[in-house]
Each structure stands twice: as C-alpha cells, then as structure tokens.
C-alpha cells in the first residue's frame, strides 16, 4: 500500500543508537567497572501522532511492534498499556510451548512459533531461557490414549517429533509420577513431544520490548486507552462498520494514528467496542499456582487433560501449575480456594510423593474465549483498526508468530496465509476454525 511505501521511506531515521549487547563479557566488564546497564527501553514523552498505535504491551503487542520495525521498516510505532509491560496474560501464563497440534493449520502455525522461540535468544540478544525439556500429555483412559495415538500419527506425517510412550517410559522421564495401577486415574501412556518445553515469559516480554526500542518503537506504560477515534462509520458517533480509525484517546491525551491495533486480552471486547467493532468473545479466568522451591526433580512438562492440570518445575525449583478455564465469565483475576483444593488433589494423584510441598502463591489470568477456540486476527470492518485477540488459553505459545504475521498484515495490507483462517468474518459465514479439538486438550 502506498501509505506504507511512504512510511518506509521516511521512517528509517527513527532507530536509536545501538546499545551494549548482553553477553558474559559484558557482565564481566560491568562487574569490574561496577557500572549499571542502560535502560531496557527508553522512557520518552508520548507524542501527538504515530503511524501505528498498538494497544496492549504484552507479548503479542510487543512482537507486532518489533516485527513491524524489524521486518518492514515501520518504526514510528507506540505501544500503550494501561499498566506495566507484561502485566496481563504474558506474565500470568505457565510459559509452556509446543507444536504437537492436530490440524495441519494448527501445526504449521505453532511450529513457526516454536521456530521463532528457538532462535529468539540470538535474534533478540537476551536469554529467554527456552528449556526444551520435553512435553508429556498423559492418558488415563482408553479413549484418551486413542486421542494421543491420533495426535502422534498426525504429527509423524507432519515431521513433528511426537509419539505415544508406555507407562514404563513415562516413569523413566518423570520418576515422580505414579505409573502403577493404584491411582483412581492410572497412567496408561502419554503423548511425548521432545521439542516442547518452557520459556521465561517475562524475558520474552522484555526481549521484544528492548529489541523494538532499539529500532525506534516507543513503550508507554500507565497509558490507558479511553476511546478509539473513528470517523465515517455507520454506527453511533461515526464508529463501526465502514468507518476509518484516526487515533486513540488516552489518559494522557489524544494520539492520532492511521493504524490502531488491538493486542489486548481480557479487555479485548471493551477496546474493540470503542471502535464500534463487536467481537464474539467471552472472558473467563484461568487459574494458576506455584509452590515453594525444592531441589529439581521433575525434568519435563507434564499435562493431564483428564485431571485438568499441567505442571512443570522451574530452574528455581518451584512447581508451576495451571488448570482449565473456570466455567464462568468475569474480569476478576482473584484466585479461588476450590481451585487450589482440586488442583492439589489431582496433583497428588499424579505425584503422591509431594504432599509436603507447599503452595506459595495463586493467581488468575483472563482468557478471551471465542466460539471455536481460535483467535481473531487481522482486518476489521473499521479501516485501519486491526485485531489480534481472542487467544483463549494459548496466547503465549503463539506470541512470536502472531506478531510476525500481524506485522505483515499491517505492512502489506494483505492477510497472510497463515492467519487467513482466523479472520473476524468467519463468525458470520460459518467458516469456524477446527482447532477446538486440539486447543481444548490442554497445554
């Protein structure tokens, strides 16, 4: 599009001077000189206009900004967030990544995400602590085992490293699991996916923020969007279908921008409503918890769909637990007692030896659920207003690839093939995405 051809020409100069790189040598020099490192991202005043304003400073918003700048030379970009960077789902998820999905579309999408995660440390020059420790989905019933076989067979044909293993192999990979026939829900086998693992979610946030900052993107925290400015639409105040976005109103004043991207979670519908765009999304909490640290004993990620639990142990020795979404709509991120009780019961069914470990902290994150458990990405009926929302329980896994594809979508004004299935219009034409089966099976 012409807008961006001109942008690319004019915005090259926006990049800031190259900051010191992170390395062991750098640590050594700073240590000797007792110097501190420069700011991860600059603290600059909010301007009156940008080429692109991204609402939401989580992994999706930051990645979109980074790839806009890195891949397309669009650098006059501001990210506005009502809280601090990574304060939403990006900092509340359980940081599990995998690509053993069920549909070819799902596999292609998440495999690209895993690729980007794999090279992220070098690409962004920050150790995101990607721990390719393997990912095990347990089967406790015949039917679950059949599903695992199905996923493994599909994955094999797509060259994804994924296979069904028997209880003895499960025991070898995770000795803390009770693989005997004693439990109420005995472990009959597991889908094992060696390339899956965990990653330090905060480091991903900071890595993208730092890299985007180096390219000229601005990060504005505590900048809350109060309204989205649209003109010419057929709804009230000129909003809605047929309209064209002109900027955003924030608690720090109006910003004009021809492109506004909704990269929020939890409040995605409220932000889109401001532009007159209705989203078929309901918001539900997903709870998580962490224990006190103990010496490392669990080397892989363990998921049990039947018992609604996934668990991994951080390098710091804490067990991180997640569950399935709560069955009600709310914006509250408070945890419940019932969640911890059920979680503990199920975890002890899996690993009876850890009854003396102590739950240290519980929290909740908000999940934007769509009817087909797939995201809404790309164009909306309002020109210049883009969405990358509705990520349910799996937004973190998809962060890098979403950013990459959204950036391409915005820069080329074409929907990239990889995200074509996720267009908003599918809900009125009946072309729902078929990843529900795969996304619903857990983490």
């Amino acid at each position: 599009m012409t807008l961006f051809q001109s942008l690319r020409g004019s915005m090259k100069s926006n990049a800031v001077s190259r900051p010191p790189r992170y390395s062991a040598a750098g640590l050594l020099v700073k240590g000797v000189k007792q110097e501190s490192w420069p700011r991860v991202w600059r603290d600059v005043p909010l301007k009156k206009s940008y080429d692109v304003v991204i609402v939401g400073g989580g992994v999706h918003g930051l990645a979109t900004a980074y790839y806009l700048a890195a891949n397309h030379g669009i650098t006059n970009v501001a990210i506005v967030d009502k809280s601090y960077l990574g304060s939403g789902g990006s900092g509340r998820n359980t940081a599990i990544v995998r690509s053993n999905y069920l549909t070819p579309e799902g596999v292609a999408f998440y495999d690209r995400s895993l690729e980007l995660y794999n090279s992220m440390a070098v690409d962004l020059n920050i150790n995101v602590m990607f721990s390719e420790r393997g990912h095990m989905t347990l089967a406790h019933t015949d039917s679950a085992l059949r599903t695992m076989h199905w996923r493994a067979e599909v994955n094999k044909l797509q060259n994804i490293d994924s296979s069904v293993i028997d209880p003895a192999e499960v025991k070898k990979l995770a000795p803390s699991l009770d693989t005997s026939s004693d439990p109420r829900y005995p472990i009959l086998g597991a889908l094992y996916h060696p390339p899956g693992g965990t990653i330090r979610h905060d480091a991903v946030v900071w890595g993208y923020a730092r890299a985007a900052d180096h390219l000229g993107v601005e990060m504005h925290q505590k900048a809350e969007v109060l309204d989205i400015l649209v003109e010419g639409g057929d709804g009230p105040d000129g909003k809605g279908s047929g309209g064209r976005v002109t900027g955003v109103r924030t608690n720090r004043g109006d910003i004009s921008a021809p492109i506004v991207v909704n990269c929020t979670a939890g409040w995605a519908t409220l932000i889109s409503d401001m532009a007159g765009v209705k989203l078929p999304i309901s918001t539900r909490p997903l709870q998580a918890a962490v224990t006190e640290p103990v010496k490392v004993f669990l080397p892989t990620v363990v998921v049990s769909g039947s018992l609604h639990v996934y668990v991994s142990q951080t390098d710091r020795g804490e067990l991180v637990f997640g569950a399935s979404v709560d069955p009600f709509n709310t914006y509250s991120v408070r945890g419940s007692l019932e969640f911890t009780e059920e979680l503990a019961g199920h975890v002890l069914e899996l690993m009876p030896g850890i009854s003396r470990m102590r739950l240290l902290r519980q929290w909740a994150g908000l999940c934007d659920m769509t009817p087909d458990y797939s995201p809404v990405m790309g164009f909306t009926p309002v020109e210049g207003f883009f969405c990358d929302v509705g990520w349910g329980t799996y937004g973190f896994k998809a962060g890098p690839v979403s950013g990459e594809q959204m950036a391409e979508c915005i820069a080329t004004q074409q929907t990239p093939k990889l995200i074509e299935p996720f267009k908003l219009s599918r809900f009125s034409t009946g072309e729902l995405v078929g990843e529900k089966g795969a996304a619903a099976v857990g983490h």
């Binding site: 992170y22 390395s23 640590l27 700073k30 240590g31 007792q34 501190s36 490192w37 420069p38 700011r39 809280s83 990574g86 304060s87 900092g91 440390a121 020059n125 920050i126 150790n127 602590m129 721990s131 390719e132 015949d142 039917s143 059949r146 599903t147 199905w150 044909l157 330090r200 925290q221 640290p293 103990v294 010496k295 490392v296 004993f297 390098d315 710091r316 020795g317 408070r334 419940s336 007692l337 911890t340 009780e341 979680l343 503990a344 019961g345 002890l348 069914e349 030896g353 009854s355 003396r356 470990m357 102590r358 739950l359 902290r361 519980q362 729902l432 078929g434 529900k436 089966g437 795969a438």
Partner: protein, 959 residues
C-alpha cells in the same frame, strides 16, 4: 574477638514455655542433641550452640536465625521427608531428624560459597544477559543453574498421610490471638456470636508472651475468659485466605489425628488481627549470623530461655528495641552499645572476617566488638487478608508503616495492624471490634435469611446496619528506617541486595511489579512479609520519590504457604460400580475403567461372547448408561431443544433415537429417550456424557427457558440396566415377565413397556438394537439388579445364555456400523459427518446448534466440502487390523485424508472391519484407501457402501 560465641540455655525464666522435665533427643546435621518439650527447632538448635542453620540461595552465604519465628527466611530446614520446614515455628519432637538445606557439600564447608566472590558479576537477572551464544551450550548451563534451586529435597516415596477437611459456619472468625484478637473474640462471643479464634503460633497471647509478668498474667486471664465465653480456640492454625463472601480457609496443624486439617469457614464477619511483623534493616552484613531482630531476641530469652549472645550492640528506634536491651541485660548479656536511631544514630555495617558477626561499625565510623547485633527499626503491617477483601494499604510516613486503606463492612481489623497503643488500649479496641463484628454478623444473617426464598420467613423489620463507632487507635511517630548508608540484603530468601534493586531500577525495571519480576525480590517463600516494604523503600529512594508514590504490590493468597496434602485432604475420587459388580468379579470378569465407572471388559473370550450372543442369547450390564428421568408438561420442548430431530409427537410407549449437538454443531451425545407416560420420559445418554448432558439440560432450563415446567432427575445409579440380546432373548424374557406382552406385534422394535421382571415391579423394558440382535434393554431398581441378573442366568440356562462384556458389545456395534460419540466422532465432528443428516430438522423452531448446522449442511452438500465423512472400511487383507488412529493418506504421499476411528477383527464375518473419517474425495463407496500402519508400512482398504458390515437391512433386530 577470640573464640566464636555459641548461644546456650539460660536458667529458668518466668515466662518460659519449655518443660525442662521432658528432654527430647533429636539429630541435627547427623549430630545427636537434646532439647525440651515446648522448644521450637530453632530454640533447641540455639540452646545447643548452633549459630549457622542454612546457606543462602545464590551466594551460599552462612545464615543464622534473624526473626526466629515462622517467617524467618534463614530458618528453613529439612525434617525427615518434610522439606522447607519453618524451624522457628515447628515444635521439637522426639527422634526428629533435622538437616540443613541448600548446602553443598556441607553446612560448614560450602563450595558454592565461591559464588560470593563473583557476586558483582551475578547481579539480579544476570542470567538474562548471558548464556545466549552459542545456543547449543544453554541446555548445559541450564543444568548447572538448576542445581542452584534453593529449598529442601522431596522424598518421592513420601506417603499421603491422613489429611482432613471440615466445614464451619461461624458468625465471626478472628485471625490472630494477640491481646486485641483475644478481646475481639471474647466480646463477640459475649454478644452471642459463634466465634472461632485462630492463632498462628502455639500459644494465645501474641507479644504479651515475651513481655512482662503482668502481660503474661493478662494473656492467661483472657485465654480463660475466651474459653468461658465459648470461643472455639485454634492454635498453631493459620487463616490462609479470605475469598468471596468471607469464605475463609484455615489450616489447622495441631489436629490430634490428621497431619493437617483444612477448615473452610463461611464467616459472616471476619476480624483481622495478625499484629505486626518486625522488619529487618538493610545495611552491609545484615545477613551475617548474629544479626537478629528485637522480637527474636526477646522471644528467645523470655519464652525459650536461650542466651542469644554474650556481647551485644542494639540499634533501637522504638520501645521494643529498648525492651530488648533490658531483657539482654537481665540475663547477663553485656550490651556494649545502645544505638538510638531516634537520636540520629545509625549502624553502617556488621563485620567479621569469619562467618558470624564480630564487630559493628556505626554511622559515625566507630567500631564496636560484639557477637550479637539487635535491630528494632519498625514493622510491616501484614494486610494480606484485607487485600484479599479488596482493601489497598496506605502508607503513613509519620508512623513509618502501611495501614489498612479503608473499612470494609464485614471484614474488620484491630490490633497493631490498625494503630498503636498500650495493652489496655489494644484490648479496648479489640473489644469494640468484636462487638461490632457480632452485631454486623447478626444483621447480615437477617438479610441473607430475608432474601433466601426457601428459608423460613424472618420476623420483624431489618435491624439498622451497625455503624462503626470505634475510637481509632493512635499512631505513634516512628523514624523511617529502611536502608542505612550502605547496601545490604533486602530479600534474604532470594539473595537480592539493595544494590541489585537500584541497578535494576536504573535499567528500567522501575515499577514495583517489574522490579519484583526482574529481581525476584519478595517472590520467595516468605512472600514479602519481611521484604516488601524495604523493596518499595529502596525503589522510592532510587526514583527519588516517596513510598506513597511508588505504591506497593498486591498480596495474593495464601497468607502462609499451605501443603498440597492439606489442600487435597483425603482425595475423594470414588469409582462407580453397578450392583451386579460382585457377580462379575466372582465370575472371571476382566474390568476396565471407563470414565467414572469400573465395568467388565470381557469374561475371558470376547469373540466367543459375540458368537454366543449372535447364536443364542447374551446379557450385558449396561448400568453406566446415563439416565435422566424427565417429568412435566414441557418435556417435549426440552427434548426438541436438545436433540436435532423432532420430539413433539412421540407417542406414549415409543422410543426414539436422537443426537445432540453443541452450539457449534459438533456432536455432543446420542441416545434414546422413551415416553413412559403423558408427562413422563426416560432419557439415556452415553456413559461418559451422563453428567455433561444433565448439566446441559439444566443449563437450558435454568438460563434460557425458566418458564418450561420440566423436572430433571439423574437416575443413572438408581436404575440397574441390563441388555438382553440374541435370537433367544424374547423366549428368555417371556419366562420372567408375566405382565408384558412380548409378541412382536404388541411390543415392536423401538417401543417401551413397563411391568414386572423376575418379580420386581416397576421395571422398564424397551426394544433397541445397538448389537444388531433382537434385544431388550431393561431398567430395574438398582437394589434388585443382582437379583434380576441371576434370575436371567437361571431362566436362560437351557437357552445358552452367557454374559458378555464391553468389548463384545463394541465388536457387535462395529459389525453393525453404529458409531460411538467421542471415538468415531471428535471435538470437530459436526452432525452431518456422521451420516445422520436426515436427523437434523432445520424446520424446527430452535434447537442447540441450529444456526451452525444450517451452514454445516450446506457445506456438507457442496462439492468442495471440507467436512470429513464417517464411512465403513474393510482392509484388502482381511487379517490386517489397522490400529485405531491409523492415518489414511493419499497414495504415495503424506497428505492426510482421514483416519481409522474404530477397528476390530469381526468374529461374525471372519475379517477385519473398520469405521473411519475420510475427506470427501475418498469417501465414495469402492474407493481404495491407503492406510499407514503402526510400523510405518502401508496397506490398502476399501470404502463400503453402508456403515453396517453385518445385516445391513436390520432383519435380525426387528424380528
């Protein structure tokens, strides 16, 4: 100083809680020691001269007791298979095996202490900045890094010992048994409320316990008064959380039988009275063994008779510090210097070339030899429970601590949390709070009752809401003392220093939340109780702002960490069995776990069971089948809403099959429903769908159509269900059913009758044909299940009757081409794909999934349809049974066209048979498919014209 000081036991103290007549032997770090009953592990270790109890997380610095209570970040020990035990809290028990944690190879000589020398390179978050290239080395680095995980060791053979739960419905829960908390409990109970008083420590009394003799006498008197007033007293118990509507969790650790008991209390009012937590001071060397807080020193001396040092320096900013000076002098500790912060004096560093404190440098540069440095610089207000009720604490610079933000109707606070005062003032405030809590509880209960439809009507007008007329406690001025002129440790469990925090803030992690995430300060096991305020203060200093401007973090539940054992309780996960299960087990059944149920998979030879059923007669226990009793005039409307086909005209005595879809058109369940009477129906669901469909039906009734008159009763376990199948089934049933006319004309296929079976009244029998044979399914009251089963076996002995299990049933249904929801369909399969498009009636008003199924049917009919088709498949080689989930691919490629969803060797046909989902261009009858087998080899198979491999016309079952 010459010779390292060792703490020791003092002579009897007037307030001691130890029983010197009861000696307890235990081991510490493999050394045998003794202590007394009443000792905590910490007091026993100190009495035995132990000064170093742990090593710090990152630098493995030696650490000793600092707060000597539950929150002491240095006092984590391993007790047998119990990791991370709070030694400042856990009582000593005979034979305890206690070991230090986080030491390598030993407490005294820790090799990882070398990290201390390179500490300047290992600043907070250093790991983000290194190990980036070469990437292939990161896994190795990660392994090393993970050996630094702090904490104890989990013994994977630890048994899940007895844990219990209890529900309670008190009017008032008081969290904290200090003077104010006790007074609140007594006053509330005297006002007529049912009160639970929960104290974290082992004794009621709070700070009175380490105060004067008069203080202790008051504590004893109040304890007795609480008893007399009928307060339920729980010591060694912690209120761990406050959730919606005062749903309060309490962990009781001193239950006589259970290791721990989780009490879940719906408290009408909650009184928060946890007192205050003394805050450490940040200065160089502040984590050296020998640096202790004033409260710790006073508890050690007065309650446990332990001498914590021989020559002390005391930094004091308040009366508690002054009292510590007096206590130390009383027991013969030389107080070398009292450093009075109120007079502007300060401590700059605690020094010593050795591992413990040997001298202290004051703010003016003076150096004083000592082996104990006591600090009393102020408090942290543990407002966690109030935060969980949405309160946000507010900082008061004059008093140098946070206070509750504002009053909440049914969550009140009292004691040190709310202000300062004499013991009398605290008690008076507590009493007023207790009375108010009791009054509000009474009004709140009145309201709940008045607004609960089914409760007995309440008499009288609603009483006025009791106003908060309490006289507020004062706030004593206190110097703001967080960090000295030097840098020291802020988070002891995470080894984060004030210098780390300043550096991180300069890097841009300059909001409390970012700082916390980047440095991990406040994220360790003590949950910020000792660290949060100092973290905020250091950040404020770094930003040149006030503490109010910086704000604080949100305390999340739990208040204190809870064991998974306590949360799990007994773990109640029952297995369901039918009332016939004893017979199955006595007769060689091999069981299978299927969802909630355990049931016979077979009795030895499933193929023989199939052949016998096809030849003679077989019976199967199908009790797990989901069953819902539906009554009321609007049942047909509900059925029409749930199923895709029509139900308004089902005659009495008839049975109809239907499928249910979710709103996205995906098949949710299937089954038959019978009309037993004018307004009486019995619905069956799949075994695994029983609970889901009940909820689904209730969801429609309660949220979408509350005007429909339908009563749904799940009767899955109330009725025992038996399927009788095979050519001889009519003869057999005829021998047991005197009052049901089984003549095919009187009782045709897909009809239902009620009557007597084997002498049991009110049985339901219907004719359906999952197995493809003439068959009757009977539902009898559960208690008679075994009787009817035995009667059938007796009556059918000459007819060749044999039981058959789930596997034989699965084979027979596959021979007949009947699909199983969840096996032959999945989370993506919309109804048209099952081949049952004729059962989707779009001309109905509404039904679940209608809109989506409209699209789905159009899509399905188009030539480019992407929807899979369920088809019957027969491998070319009749001896090859492709495993379920085998992929069907385009010949010569890896392009997936579908998969085998069910496969078996058919005993009836003597060949392998399958059902599978395939794409439209592979679904035409006669298409040759390529199937990838488990070993990677490929085989071919043919798509059949009809789903049924056997008796496609259904002559057998209609007979």
């Amino acid at each position: 100083m010459s010779g390292e000081f060792k703490p020791s036991r003092l002579g009897p103290q007037s307030g001691e809680v130890i029983d010197r007549s009861a000696t307890i032997r235990f081991t510490w770090d493999s050394k045998v020691m003794t202590g007394f009953a009443g000792d905590t592990i910490a007091s026993a270790l100190m009495a035995n001269g132990v000064r170093i109890v742990s090593r710090s997380m990152k630098y493995h610095r030696p650490r000793g007791y600092m707060t000597a209570d539950y929150w002491d970040p240095n006092g984590f020990v391993q007790v047998g298979d119990d990791p991370n035990v709070r030694s400042g809290h856990r009582l000593l028990e005979p034979g305890m095996t206690i070991d230090p944690q986080n030491v390598w190879p030993s407490l005294d000589h820790d090799v990882k202490a070398a990290n201390g020398f390179v500490g300047r390179f290992l600043t907070a978050g250093f790991y983000y900045k290194t190990f980036i290239r070469p990437q292939r080395l990161w896994p190795a680095f990660e392994k090393v890094l993970s050996t630094f995980a702090p904490g104890g060791t989990v013994d994977l053979d630890t048994p899940h010992r007895l844990h219990d739960k209890r529900y309670a419905h008190p009017d008032v829960v008081v969290a904290g048994g200090g003077p104010a908390g006790m007074a609140a409990a007594i006053a509330a109970a005297e006002a007529g409320a049912r009160v639970m008083l929960v104290e974290h420590e082992h004794h009621l009394g709070g700070h009175l316990l380490w105060g004067s003799d008069e203080d202790r006498a008051l504590a004893a008197k109040m304890r007795d008064a609480a008893d007399v007033a009928g307060v339920e007293i729980l010591t060694d118990s912690t209120v761990t959380g406050r959730y919606e509507d005062n749903w309060v969790s309490i962990v009781q650790r001193n239950h006589p039988l259970a290791v721990e008991r989780l009490i879940k209390a719906r408290a009408t009012s909650l009184v928060v009275a946890p007192g205050l937590i003394e805050r450490p001071y940040v200065f160089a060397g502040n984590d050296k063994p020998g640096v202790m807080l004033s409260g710790a020193v006073r508890r050690m001396i007065n309650m446990y008779a332990v001498k914590p040092g021989s020559r002390a320096v005391v930094l004091t900013a308040n009366a508690d510090g002054d009292a510590a000076v007096a206590d130390l002098r009383d027991v013969g500790v030389e107080v070398a210097r009292v450093v009075d912060a109120r007079a502007g004096e300060n401590v700059a560093s605690a020094n010593g070339p050795g591992r413990t404190v040997e001298s202290v440098t004051l703010g003016d540069g003076t150096s004083i030899d000592c082996d104990l440095l006591v600090t009393a610089v102020g408090w942290t207000a543990p407002t966690s429970l109030l935060n969980m009720a949405a309160d946000r604490p507010v900082y008061d610079a004059t008093a140098a601590r946070f206070f509750p933000g504002g009053p909440i109707d049914t969550v009140l606070s009292t004691g040190g949390l709310t202000g300062d005062g004499t013991v009398e003032q605290l008690v008076e405030h507590g009493r007023a709070t207790g009375r108010l809590a009791a009054e509000r509880s009474a009004v709140a209960k009145h309201r709940i009752q008045a607004h609960t439809a089914r409760a007995a009507p309440v008499s009288g007008d609603e009483p006025a809401w009791p106003h908060d007329l309490r006289a507020a406690l004062g706030r004593d001025p206190h110097p703001e003392l967080f960090r000295s002129t030097t840098h020291g440790i802020v988070d002891f469990s995470e080894d984060v220093s004030s210098k780390d925090l300043v550096g991180a803030a300069a890097e841009g992690f300059d909001s409390v939340e970012l700082l916390k995430r980047f440095t991990t300060a406040t994220m360790g096991p003590s949950q910020g109780k000792l660290e949060t305020v100092n973290t905020v203060a250091v950040l404020a200093e770094a930003r040149g702002e006030t503490i109010e401007e910086v704000g604080t973090t949100v305390w999340r539940p739990p208040y204190a960490p809870i064991t998974l054992g306590a949360l799990a309780g007994r773990i109640f996960e029952p297995v369901r069995v039918s009332s016939i299960q004893p017979w199955h087990e006595a007769n060689g059944a091999v069981d299978i776990l299927a969802g909630a149920w355990k049931r016979p998979e077979h009795y030895g030879d499933p193929a023989a069971e199939v052949m016998n059923t096809r030849t003679n007669v077989g019976i199967i226990d199908v009790t797990p089948l989901g069953k819902l009793d539906l009554q009321g005039p609007d049942v047909p409307k509900l059925l029409s809403q749930l199923y895709t086909n029509k139900w308004m005209q089902l005659p009495v005595g008839s049975v109809r099959y239907g499928i249910m879809c979710a709103e996205d058109g995906v098949v949710l369940d299937d089954g038959v429903t019978a009309r037993l009477g004018d307004e009486h129906y019995l619905m069956t669901t799949t075994s695994s769908g029983a609970a889901t469909i009940w909820e689904w039906a209730e969801n429609w009734l309660q949220t979408e159509h509350p005007e429909w008159q339908v009563h749904v009763t799940p009767v899955t376990t109330g009725l025992c269900s038996i399927n009788i199948a095979g050519p001889n089934s009519r003869t057999l049933l005829g021998r047991l059913c005197p009052d049901i006319d089984l003549d095919p004309d009187a009782f045709p296929y897909m009809h239902v009758r009620t009557g007597t079976v084997a002498g049991v009244d009110d049985c339901i029998a219907w004719r359906i044909g999952f197995t493809g044979e003439l068959s009757y399914e009977i539902h009898v009251p559960s208690g008679y299940g075994l009787h009817v089963w035995n009667a059938l076996l007796d009556a059918g002995a000459d007819l060749g009757i044999k039981p058959f299990g789930l596997e034989a049933q699965r084979i027979m249904r596959l021979e007949k081409g009947h699909f199983i929801v969840g096996q032959d369909t999945d989370g993506l399969t919309k109804a048209p794909s099952t081949g049952l498009a004729p059962l989707i009636k779009l001309d109905k008003d509404d039904f679940a999934g209608k809109a989506e199924l409209g699209w789905a049917l159009d899509e399905f009919a188009s030539a480019e349809s992407k929807a899979p088709r369920l088809v019957a498949i027969q491998p070319t080689d009749p001896t090859v049974v492709p495993h379920e989930a085998s992929q069907i691919v385009r010949a010569g490629t890896n392009e997936i066209l579908g998969r085998i969803t069910s496969s078996r060797m058919s005993p009836t046909l003597g060949r392998s048979i399958c059902l599978g989902q395939v794409a439209i261009d592979a679904a035409a009858p006669g298409t040759m498919l390529t199937i990838v087998l488990a070993d990677g080899t490929r085989t071919t198979a043919e798509v059949m014209a009809r789903h049924a491999h056997f008796d496609p016309e259904g002559e057998r079952l209609r007979g």
